[in-house]
Symmetry: C3
């Protein structure tokens, strides 16, 4: 825990300066505080290639420039999740360097498409803070926005994190829990401007299923599983300039309960699960929103990740060519839910409901899907 | 084996859909069937960089834009093998998701150069199918083509794979073995249009040997060896959107004979061996053809790969500035053939000839090489 | 040791050729010899992305095109260290394939900025050579230069390496030690042409400290540590086309004292330490020079790297907007110098001073830093 990592006495003649920042603590993140996060990032086709090599995403809007152009885009887009990770990564030094856990996400909406070459800046506003009864930590809520070099919002979301206090002895008095919507309002779903599906070619995705084919209550097992290596999740988190100790510093972590080892960046699990989800959701164009999301359990190097999707809702967007699907994307480790018994929520000995210990992701999100062409 | 992985009963209220595809089985791949493979791919300079970081290829046509321009190209080309891997990767969901082994390649020819930014589409025709006597599997032959966004063919090849049957009980009656040429016809070798070697600068490659210097019967040991890590071969296969379970799913594979672990994508071994081959073949410009190729034995993470080349044939292309060499590229694991005893083919106890167990690749291919400049 | 790796007898009928080069030996590197290193390299934004995924560098001049433009550059620059690694990597086949150790660097200066798309050629001149008393090896000094496609020098440096002799029996008589400057002359520090800090925006770096704030004698612990994996350092070295056996060939190395395993390319340690140094040195724009550098001890996969910076000197460059800082960047393995006891230099039992065994890098270098704006 960072506050225990005070710098020791140094050899005589050396003055240790405080120029390196240990990151913000719970007390620093006062409701209403605005943060402009450092190191805006130009996302290039190089980043897209590294992302692909770490995830094997096959959704064609992000890897087929001709397909993207045929739908009215300038060229292939930067993967929606790569955009999220870069925006998120830039918040880490200010928000979550001293975080103990990423507790959840809400009201995440995508805006303007991001193209290779765009430069993304992240800013956040603290919208809630509640000290835990223990006094050693608290929950901080932030609304984070990513904007491109023209000032267009490319995404916006709320997340809440468990953050260490600087001073466990002094109560902060913070007790301000914001209201977050249970789902992103349909009116907040942004269909990319100029989208034109008249030339949508099903052979490009290889899928056979249109929006009308997906039924609420339906579960799609995505069949395959992917084992994640230490080098892979580290490269992913580094690509996003996410410097959180939990992913990188085996020396410090070996003495740190409860895991005593590196934990995979939860966002990498989202990327892997979303890439797996292509098998069965081929026509999905892009993500419009995350309604909510939880990293249900930690994932470690050597774990094999599987995924399924539950169809939650079909959402009409008032257009003939495309509509939205609300899905639950669940990632599971070291058990193939398509062929082996796998619970989702279980009741523990104390009668409390929690996620099964193999479940590592529960993401409620909304995607854009072509409607079945007429005639 | 996929057919044993039927989806189990699900919790009440959840309807498991069949929208995710388990891939084609032997019976699905009827001779004459045409397949347009999904997710065409824009190959970028990002992909080239990831490829380089995984292989250390030094052939300058693929990493030196100025050299490429000096020979009449627009800029540096996408590495010939990266093109192959992308074309191949796109065939996996349709051809080899249920394949047990990649048995061989034939008649592979390169066509139009691929530049960063080009978008490659893969299509295949089933040209042969023969059920095995066991009835549980069969061999399928396909001719695969890669074309760019202008419709130019960038490569074409035949491969054959051992594929599981969907229904081992019902004989398919398939018994159709195609004729494949023992070597690519000289008239099918495509020298890139506009190639002009008048400004070829030997210092760029650092090599001293021209086409005339290579003698059939000569063996070149490429000296160095490279150890392959799990993260590396997974990243390579993912970069090519090759989703074959054998490379990724340690959870499923641990119970699966005969290896009980992840197998390195055989194409990655080709990439590594070809990169090693630069030492001794520096002036080689690009690959024109594969006459035949076999993944002689599997390779696993932790193995160290060495390579040698045998010069098989000098081929005159009717031009003064360049000609072709037919080479055999052999990759060996965990034994340095330059300094340690290493057999190539051995006779086993049953009197059958097979590859030595260290040999992992036997690739008969043809490359384009500058001729010694006159006076 | 390469000279022990003579090629063994081959099967009858196979003639082993000498076309693959074992690299130069000490005797080959005669003072005055000029070497044009092979395979010039076009550095792309793909390379920059792979570099970032392996280091997590956050210095914005290299990842934020808008920031770079605001300071008068065309776009984001290629990271100074990536340029070094590419220039260095190209020298390996000629200089250090048979090197036993990289002993040091001196008088390294950066020149013209490198942009994605530039093609870099490396050349070297042998400036010194001294045979060791053992007669089995010697020290070779080279001055290496990198130039872009317009012929502008992008960097220049001296390094010296311990190289095996081809023939330990025959004394070379080489005894020529060059004079290298203890530090790069201030007049040799090149501030990029057109640099204009009038629009420098501190929020971009997130830092609070200007040139005036850094005091000689001050030590900045950069707080975090990063564990390096085998796949990561191999990918880094491959990205630079650095083919030195020590980083890749586990099969050969397992029998080779003293380490019996792969050693991490020392340059990767520099990259990691420099990336860590962002925390506390946020406003630093680019590297101007290395005054000297030593890989104090080897680093292996699994090691966790920490870093501190000592402020050595403030250097006025005669401009109002920017000046130089001379820093000592020290990297340490498997011990957190901010919270645990860590010596730098120690005296061994024989009374000889050496680096503490955890110290892996001692780099004396000079960087460009904005001065505090007036008014």
């Amino acid at each position: 825990m960072p506050r225990e990592r005070e710098q020791r006495d140094q050899p005589s003649g050396v003055r240790v300066s405080g120029k390196a920042t240990p990151g913000n603590y719970f007390e620093d993140l006062v409701v209403g505080r605005e943060l402009i996060h450092a190191t805006p990032r130009t996302i290039t086709e190089g980043d897209a290639a590294v992302y692909l090599s770490l995830t094997s995403s096959r959704y064609p809007l992000f890897c087929d420039a001709e397909f993207a152009r045929s739908l009215g885009f300038e060229r292939e887009l930067v993967n929606d999740l790569l955009v999220f990770h870069v925006v998120f990564g830039n918040t880490v030094p200010d928000i979550s360097l001293n975080a103990l856990a990423n507790l959840g996400y809400a009201d995440l909406r995508y805006g303007a498409p991001v193209y290779p070459g765009d430069t993304i800046t992240s800013t956040s506003t603290v919208i809630g803070a509640r000290e835990a009864s223990s006094g050693t930590q608290g929950i901080t809520w932030v609304r984070t926005r990513g904007t491109n070099q023209r000032g267009d919002e490319v995404m916006s979301y709320v997340r809440w994190v468990l953050v260490n206090k600087r001073d466990p002895e002094s109560p902060s008095g913070f007790d301000d829990v914001p209201v977050t919507p249970e789902r992103v309002a349909v009116s907040d779903l942004v269909v990319p401007e100029g989208l034109d599906l008249s030339r949508f070619e099903p052979a490009v995705t290889g899928g056979r299923w249109w929006w009308e084919d997906y039924e609420p209550g339906e579960r799609i097992h995505h069949i395959e599983g992917v084992t994640v290596e230490e080098a892979e999740h580290q490269m992913a988190a580094r690509l996003y300039q996410n410097t959180a100790r939990a992913h990188f510093n085996a020396h410090a972590l070996k003495d740190q309960p409860p895991f005593h080892r590196r934990v995979i960046y939860g966002g990498h699990v989202i990327s892997v699960a979303r890439a797996l989800s292509f098998n069965g959701l081929e026509h999905v164009l892009r993500i419009l929103a995350w309604n909510g999301g939880t990293h249900a359990n930690p994932t470690f190097a050597g774990d094999t990740i599987f995924a399924w999707s539950d169809v939650l809702e079909r959402i009409d967007l008032g257009r003939d060519d495309a509509a939205a699907l609300r899905l639950r994307l669940v990632a599971v480790k070291n058990n193939d839910p398509a062929t082996e018994e796998q619970a989702f929520r279980v009741t523990d000995d104390n009668g409390r409901e929690r996620y099964d210990s193999n479940v590592v992701l529960d993401l409620d999100y909304t995607v854009l899907v072509p409607r079945r062409p007429r005639g």
